[in-house]
Symmetry: C2
Subunit: 338 residues, 2 copies
Amino acid sequence: MKRRPPVSIKTVAERAGVSPATVSNVLNAKPSVAPELIERVRSVVAELGYVTDSNASRLRSGKHSLAGVVVPDLSNPMFGTFVSTLETLAREDGFDLLVVSAANDVEQEKERLHAIRSWRPAGLIVIPCDGALSDRTPPSMHMPIVVVDRLTDDPNYDLIAVNNAQSAAAISAHLSEQGYRSCVVAGSMLSISNIRERWEGAASAAGGMAISMVEVGLEAKGIRHRLYEILTQRRPEALFALDHITALIAYQTMTDLGLSVPGDLAFACFDEAEWMRLVRPAITTVRQPIEEMATAAWQQLSRRMGGNVDPVRTLRLACSVEVRGSTLREGGRSSTAA
Amino acid sequence: MKRRPPVSIKTVAERAGVSPATVSNVLNAKPSVAPELIERVRSVVAELGYVTDSNASRLRSGKHSLAGVVVPDLSNPMFGTFVSTLETLAREDGFDLLVVSAANDVEQEKERLHAIRSWRPAGLIVIPCDGALSDRTPPSMHMPIVVVDRLTDDPNYDLIAVNNAQSAAAISAHLSEQGYRSCVVAGSMLSISNIRERWEGAASAAGGMAISMVEVGLEAKGIRHRLYEILTQRRPEALFALDHITALIAYQTMTDLGLSVPGDLAFACFDEAEWMRLVRPAITTVRQPIEEMATAAWQQLSRRMGGNVDPVRTLRLACSVEVRGSTLREGGRSSTAA
DNA sequence: GTGAAAGCGCTAACAA
DNA sequence: TTGTTAGCGCTTTCAC
């Protein structure tokens, strides 16, 4: 292991035969430095592999270049993609990202939200575990926050979300049109706003189709149990899963039970994942515009960090509804609609 | 938006009628503070929602509580899970994690590796994009680094990886035993050490089966093109995909071409993903122990950050080989082996 | 155009 | 037991 005494701006200054202030001026591209000194400093910097300490710099200048991101669960590829996209955008603006995940646990989220403040980020992008965010962000949270994906009880934050209700309604209407007469809608918890909005949207557009909601929770075991009950006892003509984990376990359970889709029942999901296009028939889904959400979130945070104090703003992005074989009555064809 | 003047340790001190040093002592649980003052300070801290500035603290005390993680691509759930696990472990040790992804791009990785130093992390866990890591970590990188998943050209770092060769050999031997007489092995690039090790392992255990390697690259379009060629022109009796993205596109292509598995050809993968158990027949895979890798990596980094200077160490963890329907000759049964 | 000095928030060392 | 002082690495201000 290589270990050497840390190199600071002083080390560089001495070695270049200039003052620390000059080194700082060179590194921050201040106009009034002699070309010769710039050259000299640059070469010492390269030689020593010196990198400015962002924090000491922030401490003195007050200029932050760190933003925080809090997501419910990094092992969900949806959130991974979200963070990835954010990171690219942040880099372009000279920011680094402190990413933390809350393991889908409100307590952990609270703890993380608190801990992240000790790094003094200039702002935060949060996908909250559930709606009761205000408990976790006391007024002493002195930084702009943009909430993504889920509504919260706190009206003080900008929000970027999707049109959950309309998209779910489109699925519901589609199922009804296809002639299915009963539909169970399964989702983690109605206390998560997007699940609630999706259910309400689906319910509103069911037409003649009997529709009902089942909350399955967030834990695999419980979800499996509930879905098994639904599939063996209630036997609806259609199943609509409102989130990825529910969809995954629902499909597993249907496969285990030997149920055929859409012969035995139709199947649709909110949240698209790779496997939904790999299985046969492919699965009808609502696809969320994750990259767009990330872009909108960063733009808004960027504005706020720049000092913008416009009234709090809510942005709803449109999803695309992908109708595929899993919900089509025999003889139907698949298509894509907005 | 809530904006108030930042609260520092001085604000707390004044408000509690004590000196900043006393506040510091209370917050760091130093033994010699009067219970009464502890109480007073605590209540002001709570009232103001004060949180210590970790960086100012580090600046003075020299104690770091930040570690960096560099992964090739966060939208890959494997890496997401890896980071998630690390995060939990780091928290337990009082560390926060600065996570950056390199978008599978060597240049970006280099840039990120450089930029991350400006945050002065106490150490780094890196899953490198490819083997030429030494270009990107000059000797001035004064911190312990643990490399995960992929070998590099730099012998100065601890390494946590899996037994790629043995596991791939197990798949190859299995295919051969099942009676397949030709196998194409497809993977991103042989310049990535684990792909190389997997190919070598597979080749070594092919027995009488004709086996050949195709590098398909990292970009979806190119991968698709190469696989289409393989499947339409070479028509091997078995296909073994060495990484997740190749596996995904291979399966899509096979589906698009209407090829049946294992009837038209057998299919196996290295790297397990959810969908591989959802499709029918389920797919034979090598499952990597991601959580174990994360745990081992953190333990090692933790040791190094604690000052340990033992010789560089390489750890190889075992994968589990999951034999499923996609490689079984008609009438065979599925099983699990180490 | 350059450098000396002050000070950002914090804590270690020491004085009271 | 508590407060004072100094200084971590940096940038800003202001002499020079």
